[in-house]
Symmetry: C2
Subunit: 503 residues, 2 copies
C-alpha cells in the first residue's frame, strides 16, 4: 500500500478514517471529490457522519455532483449537513431538502469551480480520492475529476483517500486544467473532444495534506434501468431525426459531439446509434456511461470526453480491468472544462437532456416536482442546453400510469427557458422548434409530443389563451397551473369525465 | 459621394431606395444592420414598406437588435413583416406581436449569428449601412456592427446604404471577427476589453452587391430619460455595494469590466461612478451610451467595448465629430463577440440588467407583461447574466403608482432562473443572493427589496408556502399568480383593504 505514496515524507500521514474525521470542525466548508458515484470519497465522510451522531458538527459540503455508497444519506441522518451543493440524487437527502432541514444550492455544474475560486465557497478542508500520490506530491485521480483540482488548490487542508482497487496505470486518462484568476485568463484551448490542454495529475502543495486514508472500495455501480417501450420509442425518434438531418445535409454521419444526461433514455439513444449507419462518433459530455463504452468497443465511437464514469459493475470491471486499452479513447476532465460554456459552444454539441415536465412553449422543468419539491438538481443540463448546437430535451409524455402529463400548459418551475430548447421528444414524436416563434412552437409541441389523453385539453387551453388573452406567449394565468392543482386534489391531471371514461 | 465607393466597378450600382426595394420578394429572409438605433438601415427598408402597401410582400427580418426612425413601425403598418427577430422596442410592432399578427422570435442577441451560420435563417438579401466601400470591396461600418459580418458573408445578395453623415475616418473603431464553421473553430482570443482580434472592415464578395443607396441621415437620437428618485436610489445602492466589495477585498477600485443594459438606471449607475473613488474602469457591453462617453471623457473609464453606440444628439455630435480622439478608447464588435459566453466568462464581467418583475426566489422576468405580452425582448441580458462574474438585476420596487409590485410570489414568465441571478436591487435596498439556497434568498429579497406596501403579504405567502407545501422552492401554486390576477380584476396588486386604506 505505502508504495502508493511516492512522496515518502507523506507516509507518516497515514491514518484511519476515524482519525481523519477529527480534522472536521463545526461550520466548516468541505470540498469533496465525487461525481455521480465516480471517484467519490468512500470512508472519510462516512466517519464524519459517525462523529456527528454524538457531536454538534454541521458542515457545508461542496462536491462534483452526487455521491455513491449512501454517503449523502449517512451525513443527513447524522445531522452533519447544513448546506449542500451543487447536485444530489439521494432519497434521504431529497426528503430532508424538501422538508427544509438542509439548505441545497442547485447549481450549474460548470459554475461551482468559479465559486471555489472567487471565495463564495472558501474550502476549509478537502477530501479527495486518488489512485496514487507521486514523488512531487501530485495526485493521480480515479474515476472522476469533478472540482478536485480547484479543491486541491484552494483548500486550507487536505485529506487524501487512496483507493487501492484502482490500478495506478489509470494515470493518463485525465486532463487537468484550471482557469487562472480573472485578469490572467486565457482561452480554454480545446478545439476537439480529444484535445489535451492540461496535466495528467493534480498539482498540490504537499504541506496541506494532513491525513491519508487507505481503502479498496470500488465505485458503487450505476443503476441502469433497461429501456421500456416509451424509452425505446424516444430513442427511435431521435435516431430518425438524426437520419433526416444527415439526409438534408445539416449533419454528417459522424453527427456532432454528443452529450447525454444520465439514465435509461440516454443509454437507449446511444444504444440506438450502435445499430445504425452513423460512424466515427465523438462525445463531449459530463459522464461516461455503459452505452459510451459499448459504442467505443464496437468501433462506432472514436473518442469520449467527460468528467466522470458511472457504469454498471460489468462495465466497470471491463474498463478498469483494461484501462490501458482505453487510453487515447477517453479523457476525464474537471467539470469546469467538461461543462464549459466556451468549449461547448465552440465544439457545437448535440445535447440530450431529460425534462421532468415541459410546457406548450418549450420551457423546461428539470428539477421541481409540482414546482416545489426538488428531485435531483439542474446538474449540467443548463451548461449544455444554453450553448449546444442542438439542444434536445426528452421525456415520456405521461407519468404515474397516465395521471401526469409531462407536457403542461405552463411549467411549474423553469430551469431552461424556451430560448435554450430546440427539440422536444416524447414517445409520441418529436417537435422541432428551431426557428419558430412561441405560437408556432405550441402547435408543433401539441401536435407531436402530447399524449392523446391530454391533447384536446391542451389545444383548447392554447386556443382559448390566444383568443382571450393574446400576447407573445398566450396564457390564462388563472388556469396555467390547473393541471397541477387537479393532480393534487384528485390524484390525476385528467379531467373528471376522462377519468371516469378510462376506468 | 461617389468617392465613398473606392471599388469603382461598383459605382454603377448606385440607385434610389425605391429602385433597391425591387430586389425584395415575398417570403424572403432579409438580414439588416441596426442595433438599438445605431447603424440601422434608414431608407431601403422604408422603401420596402412603401412597396408593401400595394403589393403582397411579406418578409422575415433579422437584425442586430432594434431599429430607429420608425422603420419597424413602417414595416408593420404596411404589412411587410411575417416574422421578426431577435429584438425590438417599437410600440406599433409590440402591439402587433401581442395581437398575433407578427411572429416574433425573442432571442439571446449573442445567438442570432449562429443561426445565420447554421442556416436556420438563410439570408436571401442583406441591407447594410456603411460609411464607405474600400478598394477591395470591403465595408467600413458606421455606429454598430450587430450581425453585419455574418449577413455580409452569408446573404445571397446585398444592398448597401452609404451614410455620408458619418465621417470616413470612423474606420479604426471596429474589430470584425466571425467564428469559423464547426470543426474549424478556434478560441475567440480576447483576453482584455481592448484586445483586437479581427479586421477594421467587413470582407464581402463585391459581386453580391446588387444596389448601393446614398443617404445622409444620422442615427435617431437615444431617448435618455433623466434619473428619477427611485432610479437614483438604485444607482446609489449599487455604488455602495461596489464600495463594500472593494473594502472587503473582493473587488479593486477598477471593479471588473462593466456591462449595462440600456436605459435610465444604467445611465444613473454609470453616472454614480463618475463621482466616486473608482478609477481605470473598463466596459465590455452591448451598447455604448451617453454615460459611457461621460466616463471616458472624465478620465474615469479607460476603455469601452460594445456592438453599438446609442446616444443623445449632443453626445452623438461630440463623439462622431471627434471620432479620431476616441480611437484606442472604444471598439465596436459583432454582437456574437460582444455577447459571447466565452469572452464574458473569461473577462469576469459585472452585468447590470433590468428586470420587469422578479420573484421571492430571484427568478427574473425581463420581457413579458403579466406573463403574456411582450415588452421588448430578452436582448443580451441572458448572455451576460449566465456568464457574468456578478449578475445584477435592477428594478423599481413598484410601478403604476404603486399598483404593481415588481417583486411577486412567482414570476409570470421566466427569462433568467435563480441560478443566474446574484444580486437584486430596488430603491428599497440590495439583496445579495450569492451562496444562498432558495429559502435564504426569499428572506434576503423580502427584507431588502420589497416595497413596504407589499412586504407583509409577500412574507406571509412565503411562510405559508413553507408551512403548507414545503419543498426546495416553496410555493402555493393556486396563489402563485394571485397578485397578477388581482391586478387584472381590480387594477391593483394590492389587497382591497390596503387599497381603501391608501385612498
Amino acid at each position: 500500500m505505502l508504495e502508493r505514496i511516492k512522496l515518502t515524507d507523506l507516509q507518516s500521514k497515514v491514518m484511519t478514517a476515524e482519525e481523519s474525521a477529527k480534522f472536521f470542525e463545526d461550520g466548516m466548508t468541505v470540498g469533496s471529490s465525487g461525481f455521480t458515484r465516480g471517484g467519490d470519497t468512500k470512508v472519510v465522510l462516512k466517519a464524519v457522519a459517525e462523529r456527528a451522531k454524538s457531536e454538534n458538527l454541521k458542515i457545508t459540503l461542496v462536491t462534483g455532483a452526487s455521491l455513491g455508497h449512501g454517503t449523502d444519506a449517512a451525513l443527513v441522518e447524522s445531522g452533519a449537513l447544513k448546506k449542500r451543493l451543487p447536485f444530489q440524487v439521494d432519497t434521504v437527502m431529497r426528503k430532508n431538502i424538501n422538508a427544509g432541514n438542509i439548505l441545497f444550492i442547485d447549481q450549474h455544474l460548470g459554475e461551482t469551480a468559479e465559486h471555489i475560486l472567487d471565495g463564495q465557497f472558501k474550502i476549509n478542508l478537502g477530501v479527495l480520492e486518488v489512485a496514487e500520490i507521486l514523488e512531487d506530491g501530485s495526485l493521480v485521480p480515479t474515476t472522476s475529476i469533478g472540482n478536485n483540482a480547484e479543491i486541491a488548490a484552494n483548500a486550507d487542508k487536505l485529506i487524501i483517500e487512496i483507493n487501492t482497487s484502482i490500478p495506478t496505470n489509470i494515470k493518463g486518462i485525465h486532463d487537468i486544467y484550471s482557469v487562472e484568476e480573472y485578469g490572467k485568463r486565457t482561452p480554454i484551448n480545446i478545439t476537439s473532444c480529444d484535445t489535451k490542454i492540461g496535466t495528467e495529475t493534480i498539482k498540490v502543495d504537499p504541506s496541506k495534506i494532513v491525513g491519508i486514508v487507505f481503502h479498496d472500495i470500488q465505485d458503487a455501480p450505476g443503476d441502469i434501468q433497461p429501456a421500456d417501450e416509451a424509452t425505446a420509442a424516444i430513442a427511435e425518434n431521435i435516431v430518425k431525426f438524426f437520419e433526416k438531418e444527415v439526409e438534408e445535409g445539416r449533419l454528417t454521419k459522424s453527427l456532432m459531439p454528443l452529450q447525454c444526461g444520465i439514465g435509461k433514455v440516454a443509454n437507449a439513444v446511444l444504444g440506438g446509434l450502435e445499430h445504425s449507419d452513423f460512424e466515427n462518433l465523438v462525445m463531449y459530455s459530463e459522464v461516461l456511461q455503459d452505452s459510451t463504452f459499448d459504442l467505443i468497443d464496437s468501433g462506432k465511437m472514436k473518442f469520449a470526453s467527460a468528467s466522470s464514469m458511472t457504469v454498471s459493475q460489468e462495465c466497470y470491471d471491463r474498463v478498469i480491468g483494461n484501462i490501458e486499452s482505453y487510453k487515447g479513447k477517453i479523457l476525464l476532465r474537471p467539470q469546469s472544462i467538461s461543462n464549459s460554456a466556451e468549449v461547448i459552444r465552440r465544439l457545437g454539441i448535440i445535447g440530450i437532456n431529460t425534462s421532468l415536465e415541459c410546457d406548450i412553449y418549450g420551457n423546461v422543468n428539470s428539477t421541481h416536482v409540482s414546482g416545489t419539491h426538488m428531485m435531483n438538481g439542474i446538474g449540467g443540463s443548463g451548461d449544455f442546453a444554453r450553448n449546444a448546437f442542438i439542444s434536445i430535451f426528452v421525456t415520456a409524455s405521461i407519468a404515474k400510469g397516465g395521471n401526469i402529463s409531462s407536457i403542461v400548459p405552463m411549467v411549474s418551475h423553469t430551469d431552461h427557458t424556451e430560448h435554450d430548447v430546440d427539440i422536444i421528444v416524447t414517445e409520441q414524436g418529436l417537435a422541432d422548434l428551431r426557428g419558430l416563434a412561441p405560437r408556432e412552437r405550441a402547435i408543433e409541441i401539441i401536435n407531436n409530443c402530447v399524449h392523446p389523453d391530454y391533447k384536446a385539453e391542451l389545444l383548447s387551453y392554447f386556443e382559448r389563451a390566444c383568443a382571450e388573452r393574446g400576447g407573445q406567449t398566450p396564457h390564462i394565468l388563472e388556469e396555467a397551473f390547473s393541471w397541477h392543482t387537479r393532480l393534487k386534489q384528485t390524484g390525476s391531471m385528467k379531467k373528471e369525465e376522462l377519468l371516469v371514461l378510462n376506468h
